[in-house]
């Protein structure tokens, strides 16, 4: 058994050491894999805030991932074609600057999360799962028929966007950006979980009635959690688009919503590093099992069923000897 914080430190160490080693040995593909893992982890950390702390089983977080992705895609597309983006009342220039893209991605994802959250939180349980799924599908089908930005085929961006002072085309530098963002978000997440808001949100999940009788509004608490959660996943979407230099409607697909949920349960629901460990394991399995057999999803499926049935609390729960992160 390992204490959870040592396990977390070990994960962080691995996320620093492996890419550095890969750089030294010039295994660039490993760095790309690590970047992918870190970005997917970030998306899942976002979802975990709504799911683990707020108890909101959102089956539509691909919505925010896709919005982040398309924010990058649309802004960079206008920059690379030197066309202005016509918004009716005014036009704006595209941009190739990552910080601006991130900011816009965060703002747009938050706005959409406010609307989806306000509507979805009228329901609960299975209905909440399904209505969030439906919103994701809405965006999925919308982008498929959105011919201006590639429709079903998606949109390619030829050069990775820039970050002041760094060369983002060097894999390890782009990895560094993603890793620092992940660490920053994890730090904020840890603070948030212990904050007054975190305490109240935790209570709103476990005992909404009690939360009301002390004068707090569980729905509003959950809405704020949902919005923060959507913003983080949206930021991850923007990074993911930059990693691939490509966006397509599959970023909105319900399978992706399922996958990020899967990272969380794989790692451990409500654990700070659960989603990180889940995403790392997923990407590793995808890579190595994928090399051995074309049918690696079978093994992934079986492993998942076993984890759900017999290892509640996920890998973190298993290794730290404290199962059952949620009830």
């Amino acid at each position: 058994m390992i204490q959870e914080r040592y396990l977390n430190a070990l994960v962080l160490f691995g996320l620093i050491a492996v890419p550095l080693y890969a750089m030294a040995t010039e295994e660039l593909f490993t760095i790309t894999l690590a970047t992918r893992a870190v970005i997917l982890a970030l998306a899942a950390v976002g979802l975990n805030l709504a799911l683990g702390l707020g108890g909101l089983v959102s089956f539509g977080h691909a919505t925010f991932f896709g919005i982040g992705g398309y924010t990058m895609g649309v802004l960079a597309y206008h920059a690379q074609t030197y066309t202005a983006l016509d918004l009716g009342l005014f036009t704006i220039e595209g941009t190739k600057s990552m910080p601006i893209i991130w900011l816009v991605a965060i703002i747009l994802s938050s706005l959409v999360a406010v609307v989806i959250g306000m509507l979805s939180l009228r329901t609960s349980g299975v209905y909440f799962i399904m209505i969030t799924l439906a919103f994701g599908q809405m965006f999925f089908f919308f982008t498929i028929s959105w011919a201006a930005y590639g429709g079903e085929d998606g949109l390619s961006i030829y050069v990775r966007n820039g970050f002041p002072g760094l060369n983002t085309l060097v894999p390890i530098q782009f990895y560094g950006i993603c890793f620092v963002i992940l660490c920053a978000v994890l730090f904020l997440n840890a603070r948030l979980a212990k904050s007054p808001f975190g305490l109240a949100l935790n209570a709103a999940r476990q005992t909404p009635m009690r939360t009301q009788t002390v004068g707090l509004d569980p729905t509003r608490l959950k809405l704020v959690a949902f919005v923060i959660s959507g913003a983080i996943t949206g930021l991850a979407g923007a990074l993911f688009a930059d990693l691939n230099r490509f966006v397509s409607p599959t970023m909105f697909s319900w399978q992706f919503s399922g996958e990020i949920m899967l990272f969380i349960i794989l790692g451990g629901v409500g654990r700070l590093f659960g989603p990180v460990i889940g995403a790392v394991i997923f990407v590793t399995l995808e890579h190595f099992l994928g090399e051995i057999t074309d049918f690696w999803h079978i093994y992934l499926g079986v492993i998942l069923v076993i984890i759900v049935l017999f290892a509640r609390g996920g890998i973190v729960g298993l290794l730290s000897g404290r199962g059952g992160g949620h009830d």
Binding site: L119, V126, M130, Q137, M138, I298, V308
Partner: protein, 306 residues
């Protein structure tokens, strides 16, 4: 736009809706009785289609193919229920979503492993192919008409089963009070396996029937599954009546929206923009429908209050 076209599209919508109902009925029954949300339901649809295609290819008999599809889907359902699903009844929805999501991976890749990645084809039998002339001189494919009829007949049979038989009484009791039904001396785990297998069989039948007008391929179950979820959420989860109404609503909205929304948009937009915008909104229309229903009635049209 001619009346003939409208009637044709309405029939297409009905056909789509009725097939969705076969999927949705099983889903909603399983949720109503066992409280289980089953994402792997689309896999039974796929299994039904694949088995039907394989058996039809081997024997040349469409009827045998249908029967084989029913049996195979029911058997797969029963086995999955006994091995995995019954351990999920007591867990929360999150665990159910994930475990059944994982089952999709197993089923889809397993099917790909056995049958390969290329689509199979299931032919409409000779005696059901070709058009028929409906009153008013409308030509409509006989097979699609048969689907509507078959779907309605199965729906009626399901209603009779639930309302008029002993098993039906047990199922309804199970929806209301699990302890009472155990007290009545019903073997609850057998009942659950039975309900699950029944739902799987309906999905398999639906997959086999639709397999004759679409290609049979891995992943065919998931789009239908999502639509079936939309159906039961609109209808109210647990309600067979709701599933029926919801299925027809979704079938008609999806089919008619694709035809009429672009026309509608042409009234105030130029041609190509209207076609684009119209088809964009049409592809989103059932999800918009679902959101409106849920915002208006958070537990669906016929759902019990939580």
């Amino acid at each position: 736009m001619s009346t003939v076209l409208i009637i044709e599209q309405v029939l297409n919508g009905l056909q789509f809706g009725v097939m969705l109902f076969l999927m949705a009925a099983g889903l909603t029954l399983i949720f109503g009785v066992m409280g289980l949300i089953n994402l792997a339901h689309g896999s039974f649809y796929m299994i039904g289609a694949f088995v039907a295609a394989a058996v039809a290819a081997a024997t040349g008999s469409f009827l045998l193919a249908l029967i084989a599809a029913l049996i195979a889907a029911a058997a797969a359902g029963a086995i999955v229920e006994m091995v995995v699903i019954r351990r999920l009844y007591a867990t929360d929805h999150l665990d159910q979503v994930l475990a059944t999501f994982a089952l999709i991976l197993v089923f889809s890749e397993g099917t790909r492993w056995i049958f390969g990645s290329f689509p199979l084809f299931l032919d409409i039998p000779g005696y059901l192919s070709g058009p028929v002339t409906l009153p008013g001189g409308i030509q409509y494919p006989l097979y699609r008409l048969t689907l509507i009829g078959a779907g309605l007949a199965v729906g009626l049979g399901l209603w009779a089963l639930i309302e008029r038989t002993r098993v039906g009484i047990q199922i309804r009791a199970g929806e209301n009070d699990r302890e009472m039904i155990a007290a009545l001396g019903v073997d609850i785990s057998k009942l659950y396996t039975l309900v699950f297998a029944l739902g799987a069989a309906l999905a398999g039948l639906s997959g086999a029937l639709v397999g004759a007008i679409q290609s049979v391929q891995v992943g065919m179950g998931e789009p239908v599954l999502i639509l079936a979820f939309v159906v039961i959420v609109i209808g109210g989860i647990g309600s067979i009546k709701g599933a029926f109404v919801g299925a027809l609503l979704v079938g008609l909205t999806d089919t008619l929206g694709g035809i009429f929304l672009p026309q509608l948009f042409k009234l105030f937009m130029e041609q190509s923009a209207a076609t684009n915008a119209g088809s964009a909104v049409a592809s989103m229309s059932i999800y918009i429908l679902m959101s409106i229903v849920l915002i208006w009635k958070p537990t669906g049209l016929f759902g019990a209050r939580p």
